[in-house]
Symmetry: C2
Subunit: 704 residues, 2 copies
């Protein structure tokens, strides 16, 4: 519980609770902020920073005449023990006082009136500390003459024994149970209600549900949900590896150590990152990134290669495998950090560099490996395997030559090659790999259900091939395999659509009568062989993507659009376009999309071009050592804690499992002991790359 006392508390709380969807600062419902906030769980020995802020709103809910307290105090107490000043407790010098101002809107009316509230801030940050003893802690910020913000922290029970040699974490971005159900229906044959084959996920022995909420909003994005999975700490939308503070610097927010950093430091295992997204995208980059903004792409790629460099932090020198797309952050130019050539930067650091499937498959298994196979996101499975002609119109070659990238691996090829490399490089120290099917989410956003389900089936096919490969290698019993998601979309199937009938009708209401519900939903026609179909996409995928009777499917949250429930053969769908001529974005149904369909008007703000994430708990499928930890219902942070316990990553003191002791591949770098002073105080300046980014997204937008 956050306890509040003092004369100013009541008024400020009232204001905040009346406008709770617009928050001054997430994790901080009072005028004194402790980050990590109340109710935070820690792994014993996990590095983290602490940020304290005292707020003085200038208008609206004023505090202390608009003057933030420069003399706040902060103490730590273990269990019912004595409270000690934090600098004493952690044996660090007292941090310097920082000051800044920020603004926020109290609600939509204030936003419409362009009337932001100004807040003045005093702050301190303690860098790279850790709690080693399991149990309860009380962190107390005292400000404004005795007002207190109390954060109750818990260090989870110690588990130092390594039970799994390897962990593979598959993430179907945005993947829900509903989508798995639909994918199974179109890909697996059924006779009289009995499936003749099922998804690989369906065969996993243990099933759980994870709650995906962020720290300060019940709908999450992929950055902070990935961060929760990787670090055990929920954060704010768009943030990763940090608790978002209110300062202008996107890279000074209080950090938390990720599983990749812990595993490198404690055991020196090999690390693999594989995604069908651009590798700077939230899900892959949150393994190593520490920033309030997922959009600082270039700088986050630099963090992936070199670790955190602006503050003392645990050492990290790049994953062993880094496969995906997003050449924009590697080609020298406006998209790359400081304009540098990151192919060259990775190559200098000892990486093989592959820009196509042929090169990927022939890359050394003993060197670190970078594979960047296109600009932007990888073309989806449906375009790579069925509607291949759509690839030829693209200018996505990762060399930047503006030609189409045609020699493309899929998630399966990337993942299987990654296992070869990780197995060779990890050796007895094992490996951790995150493999992401990113376009389940991306295609659900644009209501392109076929492409989303195609990539979900590609994920399942990859999981199946992974299990088979590990079995053949003799590593299956050593490997914890998890298949889960980071959040959902409110998707479901509600019947069938007779596309012939729908297209033949001339008005929108009559077109809707093409939908067959209940008994008239009938049976899936995606699994019926049709001699006129030229593509053969093998087992466990639909044999006909364009039957007369298709799935009638959709979401509850969408922009204006038109539905005809047919596959989009000409390329990924664009459901809504900004055709109003307004200066601000104002989206209507794309007049070129599904021209024979009927209009469905949107349910979300008209400046949203795409559907949005949803609330639902998402499934967790587990197999291998520690699988029993993943049954039932729990929070997304518990995935981290369970993986960390299975890997024995908790540490009772700072003398064990240091990078010096267990550095990967025999390196002998050392890490300063916990409690070292921050390097050169606080770095507040933004680099060129970060500044470009910040101007692009705008400061007011962040404050929303």
């Amino acid at each position: 519980m956050v306890s509040i006392s003092g004369v100013l508390a009541a008024a400020s709380i009232f204001t905040l609770s009346a406008a709770q969807t617009f928050q001054r600062l997430g994790g901080c419902p009072t005028l004194g902020c402790v980050l990590p906030p109340d109710q935070t769980d820690f792994l014993a020995g996990q590095y983290f920073d602490i940020r304290l802020e005292v707020h003085a709103p200038v208008n609206g809910s004023e505090a202390n005449g608009g003057v933030p307290d420069p003399n706040f105090a902060f103490t730590i107490a273990k269990a019912n023990g004595p409270a000690q000043p934090a600098a004493t407790y952690f044996k660090v010098p007292e941090p310097e006082l920082e000051r800044w101002n920020f603004t926020w809107y109290e609600d939509l009316f204030a936003q419409d009136a362009h009337a932001p509230s100004v807040v003045r801030v005093t702050s301190k940050a303690y860098r790279r500390v850790a709690l080693y003893e399991p149990g309860e802690y009380v962190a107390t910020l005292t400000y404004y003459n005795g007002t207190k913000t109390v954060a109750n922290w818990i260090v989870r029970p110690l588990q130092q024994q390594k039970k799994a040699k390897n962990v593979i974490l598959f993430i179907g971005d945005g993947m829900t149970t509903n989508m798995i159900t639909a994918a199974r229906l179109i890909a697996h044959k059924s006779i009289n209600g009995k499936y003749q084959s099922t998804m690989m996920m369906d065969k996993f022995p243990v099933l759980g549900h994870q709650m995906t909420h962020s720290l300060d909003s019940y709908i999450t994005d992929s950055a902070n949900s990935a961060s929760a999975l990787y670090s055990g700490h929920k954060s704010t939308v768009n943030a990763m590896g940090v608790y978002a503070d209110s300062s202008p610097d996107l890279f000074d927010d209080p950090k938390v150590e990720t599983i990749v950093e812990l595993l490198t430091r404690v055991w020196g295992s090999a690390i693999g990152v594989v995604s069908t997204a651009f590798v700077a995208d939230a899900t892959p980059i949150a393994l190593t990134g520490h920033s309030r903004s997922r959009y600082a792409y270039g700088a986050l790629i630099d963090q992936a290669l070199r670790g955190v460099t602006n503050y003392t932090w645990t050492k990290f020198s790049g994953p062993d495998v880094f496969f995906g797309t997003g050449a924009e952050q590697f080609l020298p130019g406006s998209g790359s950090y400081q304009g540098k050539d990151y192919y060259a930067e990775f190559s200098s650091a000892g990486y093989s560099v592959s820009l196509n499937k042929t090169s990927l498959l022939s890359a050394s298994n003993t060197s670190k490996a970078l594979g960047i196979f296109s600009t932007s996101t990888l073309p989806v499975w449906l375009d790579r395997n069925v509607y291949k002609e759509n690839l030829e119109t693209m200018k996505n070659d990762p060399s930047g030559n503006k030609k189409p990238a045609l020699d493309l691996p899929g998630l399966k090829e990337m993942t299987l090659k990654a296992i070869d490399i990780l197995h060779a490089r990890g050796g007895d120290k094992g490996f951790f790999m995150m493999s992401e099917a990113a376009s389940i989410d991306k295609q659900m956003h644009t209501l392109d259900y076929d492409r989303a389900l195609g990539d979900l089936l590609e994920l399942d096919d990859t999981v199946k091939a992974t299990v088979e490969k590990l079995k053949a290698m003799g590593e299956l019993n050593n490997t914890l395999i998890l298949v889960t998601a980071d959040h959902g979309h409110g998707f479901d199937v509600f019947g069938s659509a007779d596309t012939k009938y729908l297209s033949s009708q001339t008005n929108d209401r009559d077109k809707r009568n093409a939908i067959g519900t209940y008994a008239s939903s009938g049976l899936s026609q995606y699994t019926i062989t049709n001699a006129s179909i030229s593509y053969n996409t093998g087992v466990n995928f639909p044999v006909n993507w364009d039957p007369r009777y298709t799935l009638a499917q959709g979401v509850g949250a969408m922009p204006d659009h038109r539905e005809n429930y047919r596959v989009h053969k000409d390329g990924p769908r664009l459901p809504a376009t900004n055709i109003s001529g307004h200066a601000s974005n104002d989206y209507y149904a794309n007049p070129k999309d599904n021209t024979d369909g009927f209009i469905v008007n949107g349910t979300i703000p008209t400046n949203e071009a795409q559907g949005v994430h949803s609330l639902t708990d998402v499934p967790v499928f587990a197999m291998g050592p520690c699988q029993e930890l993943f049954g039932g219902v729990y929070g997304n942070i518990d995935i981290f804690f369970n993986m960390a316990n299975c890997l024995g990553l908790a540490r009772a003191d700072n003398a064990t499992g240091s990078a010096a002791e267990m550095a990967p591949n025999g390196s002998t770098t050392t890490v300063p002991a916990t409690g070292a002073a921050p390097k050169n105080g606080i770095q507040r300046g933004l680099t060129v790359g970060m500044l470009v980014f910040q101007l692009a997204i705008g400061w007011v937008a962040f404050n929303l």
Copy 2:
């Protein structure tokens, strides 16, 4: 696999596959039908009927000049053993040949043209047979000079040992993971992303997913999905306890024995049926009902009391507890079977009869108990506990006096009282209870999300109270508790709605800007105590149902409607009305619903007044003996098989576990041995009650 040979097969298959959502007969894709069909699983010793049909379509895909084969043959072979005529195999006389005609539409174009296809049928039915030996069977229908329909059947491995004394099956009708997530959000407080309490379901140790598809359509209704849960046999939409055949009689379809019938026959345990629906509704009545039509309410109530009487079948003489609503089928009149007074019928059979909560709570625990607490469906939790004034305008007293029923129990009171009775009556023989939260589904149909989630929370509160009660009774460790659903609705939450801002805007597009997505979804305000709120709904329910910032939520399948995302204080929502003046139903947004909201146009046929069921797998939460059987992903029929195995209901021969051996409460009724001839051949006449029903729903409608 259904194997087909013969000259007529190719043409008919082509026609059917081109119009698969309109099926001539579910489970029968060829001209020869075997019910139970190919891929059927059986419990060893479970009673069932067999229906054979040979079809001769007169137009469309003609067969044999429109003359159905009267000389078809049917054989059974165990594993690779010899095929024997079924009458020989089962030691029953050869059934009489039956004949009828039926019609169906090949697709929507044929329906628009009012051009049904006529099919002539020859048929036989074998009544009350069983397979006692586990393993594979081949059932072969030979017709039209050598054309064959082959059904592969499996009798599951024998498990005769009883591992659980009691089984309680909670069904949240239509309940999905998405809804549980939303209910948790509005009822349980969270601090910085960590819940301070969670749902009782969340605490169950084992989680599974069940696939809900029906036999012949991928979207199910509650009748055939309940039937799959209770019997291990999927059926057709609207059917229960039978495989739907094409004959006009709604009560001659081939039956399958339910868990209630098996448990009564084998162990003589006490049986409880509890629902917030009318007790003749699909989910409660499918425990004992055997009919192709869930709408034959009166006759199904008679079956609940007396068991099947028109054919030789296992004896059943009413559940020990029968609690719910639906006085229409009990008051003498047009809604009751043969116009009789079913309060009197049950009373004559030894039941206590309660018509209100006071009477319920004081009813004897040693007598069988009927409790009917209102007409129609029970008013929902939100109206019973928060907006109580809505009860006073109703005319739903179960006595039929047209006054409001105000002394109402909820699901919790009914369920806890049921446990007292079942515990007393079952004694050492234990009990089985199904307890249904029906209005999760009913209120989702009408897009009344608050009422649906309220009843979901009532279910969870009931589960919690049940666990506590069983623990206090010393029965918790003897009781397998399952919480699951029968199907879903495509519901999810996608943000928050600033209802004040929404209401203040004057056009639909501007109103949509009240929706807060991602970070702007903020935190749940349903859990924030507000001094102006007069109701107190206790723990684990929202403390404020009408906050300014509400859940923005919805479904993908809906009629035209208007959304403002506020609770409907004046009573359950009616989202769409038939205002067009057309003779046929043609639904538009109800002009009286959410008048300050924005229009969302529908995605389903315009003759649908409500949202429809969806595809998604639904969760299964398990606790108690045999809980380990319920992890992972499986079919809905596996719930039956797992419960049956846990209860040791399989039988290796017809000499064990007969009603004579194990009759409940010392009764000494005997059941004829398996293989007895059907009583008086085939009963084809419809009773008065059934006929009234059949005219009401129409024959063509059934054929769709």
